[in-house]
C-alpha cells in the first residue's frame, strides 16, 4: 500500500481576490458573450419549446377541471389526489416496485460485475448476453414474457411441469413481483456494466495490501469494493429509483395494471386517467406530484451519498 509520503501532494489553495463591484466588460468580452449566446440559442430555444413550455402547460392544465371542460379548479386536483384511494394504491404499488428494482439492480449488478471482473474465460460473451435484454424495447420484452409466463400456454410452466414441480400463476398471484423480475432481467446487464467500470477504477494495490494484512475475499469485498463503489452505487440507485417511479410499459403491456389494481403503476394510472377517462386536469396534477416525489427522492439519495463519500 502507498504510504502518505508517496502520495502526490496537493498544491496549497490560492485565495482569489474578492469581487467588490461589477467590472465593465471589454468590447472583446462583450463580443465573445454575444457569440456564445448565438451558439447557445438553438439549444435554449429547443429547451424552451420542448421542456419548459410543456412543464408550464402541464402546471396550467393541472389547475383545470380537465374532463372536456376548461374551468379553473385551483388546487382541487391536488387535494383530491390525497383522498383518492386508487391514486394512493397506485403510489404504494409504484413504491414497492421502485424499491424492489433498485435493490435488485444494485445487488445483481454489483454481484455480476464482481463475478465477471475475475477475468474468467467467456466473460465477454457473458457480458454481451446480459446486455442484450437492455437493448430490447420494453414492448418486445413485455410481449415475450407475457407469452412465457402464461399459466396455461406459457413455456415456463411447461418446464416446471416436466420437472415435476408445481406450476405457478405468475401474473395473477404475484403481479408486482413478476414485473420486478422481468424488469431486473431487462436492466441488470446495464447496471452490471456500470459497476464493472467502477470496479476497474479501483487500484489493485488496495487489494494486494489487504491480502498482505490477511483479509479474506468477503472482507476485501466489504471493506474495499463496496465503499469504493459508492459513487457508482449512488448513480445506479438514483437512476433506478427514477426509472422505477416512472415505469409504465410493464403495467401497460404485461399486466394491464391488474388483476384488479394489483399492479397499477402510477404512470399507468396517469395514462388511464388521461387517455381512457380523458381527465387531463387530474392526470396532469398527478404528473406534477410524481415529479415532486422524484425530485425529493433524488435529493435525499444525493445527500446520503454525499455523506457516505465524505466518510471514506
Amino acid at each position: 500500500m502507498a504510504t502518505p509520503a508517496e502520495l502526490p501532494q496537493l498544491p496549497e489553495p490560492v485565495e482569489l481576490p474578492k469581487r467588490t463591484k461589477r467590472t465593465k466588460r471589454s468590447p472583446i468580452a462583450r463580443r465573445q458573450a454575444r457569440t456564445a449566446y448565438v451558439f447557445l440559442a438553438p439549444a435554449l430555444i429547443f429547451f424552451a419549446i420542448f421542456f419548459y413550455y410543456p412543464i408550464a402547460d402541464i402546471l396550467n392544465t393541472s389547475m383545470l377541471t380537465g374532463q372536456r371542460t376548461d374551468e379553473f379548479a385551483g388546487f382541487d386536483n391536488y387535494t383530491n389526489a390525497f383522498e383518492d384511494p386508487q391514486a394512493r394504491n397506485a403510489f404504494k404499488v409504484t413504491l414497492q416496485f421502485a424499491v424492489a428494482t433498485t435493490v435488485g439492480a444494485i445487488v445483481l449488478g454489483m454481484g455480476l460485475a464482481v463475478l465477471i471482473n475475475q477475468k474468467l474465460r467467456g466473460s465477454l460473451a457473458f457480458k454481451l448476453a446480459l446486455l442484450v435484454p437492455y437493448l430490447t424495447s420494453i414492448a418486445v420484452v413485455g410481449l415475450m414474457w407475457r407469452n412465457i409466463l402464461d399459466p396455461e400456454l406459457g413455456i415456463l410452466n411447461r418446464i416446471l411441469s416436466d420437472l415435476g414441480l408445481p406450476t405457478q400463476e405468475w401474473l395473477n398471484t404475484h403481479p408486482v413481483a413478476t414485473i420486478v423480475a422481468v424488469t431486473l432481467w431487462m436492466t441488470t446487464g446495464y447496471t452490471m456494466i456500470l459497476f464493472l467500470a467502477g470496479l476497474q477504477g479501483i487500484p489493485d494495490v488496495y487489494y494486494e495490501a489487504a491480502k498482505v494484512d490477511g483479509a479474506n475475499g468477503w472482507q476485501r469485498f466489504r471493506r474495499i469494493t463496496v465503499p469504493l463503489l459508492t459513487p457508482t452505487t449512488l448513480f445506479v440507485s438514483v437512476m433506478a429509483v427514477i426509472t422505477g417511479l416512472q415505469a409504465f410499459g410493464q403495467a401497460y403491456i404485461i399486466t394491464r395494471g391488474g388483476p384488479g389494481e394489483a399492479s397499477d403503476l402510477f404512470v399507468f394510472h396517469i395514462f388511464e386517467l388521461a387517455f381512457r377517462a380523458r381527465n387531463f386536469g387530474y392526470a396532469s396534477a398527478l404528473s406534477v406530484l410524481l415529479l415532486l416525489v422524484i425530485v425529493a427522492f433524488t435529493l435525499v439519495q444525493l445527500r446520503i451519498g454525499r455523506d457516505r463519500e465524505v466518510q471514506h
Binding site: 371542460t69 376548461d70 383518492d84 396455461e152 395473477n172 391488474g258 384488479g260
Partner: protein, 433 residues
C-alpha cells in the same frame, strides 16, 4: 376527482384553436388542388394529398383495398390506413383531439362515437344523411340498434361498419364422443363443461377481456347503467348472480382456467384451436385464427345461452369523422364506399365478418356461409350492455372499475359481496365528481 359530467358548449382550448386555425389554413390549398372530387365544396370537399384513416389492425381486408384504390383514383389522394390495436388507437386519437391534428376518418370499436359526440369531438353526419341517406339505404337498411348506438341527441354521428355478437363455439367431436348436445341454458352449459373437463382439456375457457362478461349480464337482464335511476349494474341481485356464475366456473367448478389481464383477446381461440377446450364463447373475429391454427378442426356454432332470457352482446365497429377533420365531405364519401352493400358482402366472403345491413343478411354469400349464418340468427336478439353510459361523461372511468370488479372476482376469486361493495365505493366517487 373533480371532473364534471355536465358538458356545456364547445370545449375549445388554445391548442385546439391553434389546431383548428392551422387546419383551416391547410385546408385551403388542399381544397384548391383537388382533382375530380365530386363534392369540392368550400370548407372541406377537396381532394389531393394524403387521406388518413385510423383502422383496426385486424380489419385490412382485400375488399377494402379495392375500394381504397378506386377512392384514390377518383379523388387524386393517397389513402393511408394507419392500423392500431384498439387501446393504442384510442391513445392516438385522444392525443389528436388535444392537439387538433386529427385523421380524416376513424374506425372505432363500437362505444366511442357517442362519447365523442358528447365531447364535441365527433362530427354530426346528419347533414350528409339528410342528403344521401335514402340513396345509401340509411337508416332503413341498418339494424335499429346499429343506428341507435351511433346517435346522440337525435343526430347520427357514426355509420356502423361491422356488426357482431358472440355465440357458443363447440368442438363437434368432443361433444359427440361425450353424447352431449350443445348447451342452451346456463345449467346445461355448466353440466356439459363439467363433463368435458379432464386432464389437459377444459370444458370451457372464459376469454380474456371484460367485454366477454357482458353476455352473461345481459342473459340475466342486467345493463351497466340505468339512465332513469342513474344506478349502475341493475338489477343488482341479477348482476351479482351473473358475475358469481362466471367466477364459479373458474374457482368453484374449475371447468375454465382463470382469464388473464392480457390485451390479447385471442387466448380462448388458441385453446379451442389446440383442442384444449370443448367450448368457448366468442365472435366471428376468432374464426380466421381457429381455421389458420387448426384447419381440420370440426366445430359448430350454437345460439347464445339463456339465463333468465336469451341474449348476447351487440358489438362491431363504426366509422366516424372527427369534428376537426379538414375534408369532411371527402371523409363522408369514403364512409359511403366502405359501407356499401357490395363492399360488405365482399368483406364477409373473405373474412366471415358480420355486417349491419338488413339486406346483407339476405345475400346468398351470407346465407350459404356456415360460419356466418348462425350469427345472422343471433344478431336480432343482440343487445348493447353499456347503453346510456356515455351520457354520464364517465364511460372510461366506469369501464375501469367494472374491469377491477371483473378481475377481482374471476382472477383473484373474491366473493360477490366484497367485490361489488368495492365497485360501489369507486362508482360513488366517480359519479359525484
Amino acid at each position: 376527482m373533480s371532473a364534471r359530467p355536465a358538458i356545456n358548449g364547445q370545449w375549445m382550448t388554445r391548442r385546439r384553436m391553434l389546431g383548428v386555425a392551422g387546419g383551416a389554413a391547410a385546408a385551403l390549398p388542399l381544397a384548391a388542388c383537388g382533382s375530380g372530387a365530386p363534392e369540392a365544396e368550400p370548407g372541406g370537399g377537396g381532394g389531393g394529398g394524403t387521406f388518413l384513416a385510423y383502422w383496426n389492425n385486424a380489419h385490412e381486408y382485400e375488399a377494402y383495398k379495392d375500394v381504397v384504390a378506386q377512392f384514390e383514383k377518383d379523388h387524386g389522394v393517397t389513402v393511408e390506413l394507419q392500423k392500431f390495436q384498439w387501446e393504442d388507437l384510442r391513445t392516438k386519437l385522444v392525443s389528436d383531439f388535444q392537439s387538433g391534428n386529427v385523421p380524416d376518418v376513424v374506425e372505432e370499436p363500437g362505444s366511442w362515437v357517442q362519447e365523442f359526440a358528447l365531447s364535441k369531438d365527433a362530427l354530426s353526419l346528419q347533414k350528409y344523411l339528410d342528403k344521401d341517406g335514402t340513396k345509401i339505404g340509411f337508416p332503413d337498411d341498418w339494424l335499429d340498434v346499429a343506428v341507435s348506438d351511433n346517435t346522440h341527441e337525435g343526430q347520427v354521428y357514426g355509420i356502423q361498419m361491422h356488426y357482431t355478437c358472440t355465440l357458443l363455439f363447440y368442438n363437434r367431436k368432443m361433444l359427440d364422443d361425450a353424447g352431449i348436445e350443445p348447451p342452451a341454458t346456463w345449467d346445461d352449459f355448466l353440466s356439459a363443461a363439467r363433463e368435458l373437463t379432464s386432464g389437459d382439456v377444459n370444458g370451457t375457457v372464459l376469454n380474456d377481456g371484460l367485454s366477454y362478461s357482458y353476455p352473461w349480464m345481459l342473459q340475466n337482464g342486467v345493463h351497466e347503467y340505468d339512465a332513469d335511476s342513474g344506478e349502475l349494474l341493475q338489477p343488482r341481485a341479477a348482476a351479482m348472480e351473473a358475475m358469481q356464475f362466471q367466477r364459479d366456473l373458474v374457482h368453484e367448478h374449475k371447468v375454465s382456467p382463470k382469464p388473464t389481464t392480457s390485451l390479447d383477446v385471442t387466448r380462448a381461440a388458441k385453446f379451442f384451436a389446440a383442442e384444449r377446450t370443448a367450448m368457448i364463447l366468442t365472435g366471428p373475429w376468432d374464426i380466421p385464427i381457429i381455421k389458420q391454427s387448426n384447419p381440420d378442426l370440426e366445430y359448430g356454432i350454437a345460439p347464445a345461452l339463456t339465463g333468465k332470457r336469451q341474449s348476447t352482446i351487440a358489438g362491431g365497429t363504426t366509422l366516424f369523422i372527427p369534428a376537426q377533420a379538414k375534408r369532411p365531405d371527402l371523409s363522408w364519401d369514403f364512409i359511403k364506399r366502405i359501407t356499401a352493400l357490395k363492399t360488405e358482402t365482399a368483406a364477409t366472403e373473405e373474412s366471415s365478418m358480420l355486417m349491419p345491413r338488413k339486406s346483407w343478411a339476405k345475400e346468398p354469400a351470407v346465407q350459404e356461409n356456415p360460419d356466418v349464418k348462425p350469427f345472422t340468427e343471433g344478431l336480432p336478439y343482440a343487445e348493447e350492455f353499456r347503453t346510456g353510459v356515455y351520457t354520464t361523461g364517465k364511460a372510461g372511468e366506469l369501464e375501469d372499475i367494472y374491469k377491477t370488479l371483473y378481475e377481482s372476482m374471476l382472477i383473484e376469486g373474491a366473493g360477490a359481496e366484497e367485490a361489488f361493495a368495492a365497485y360501489d365505493d369507486a362508482a360513488k366517487n366517480i359519479l359525484k365528481g
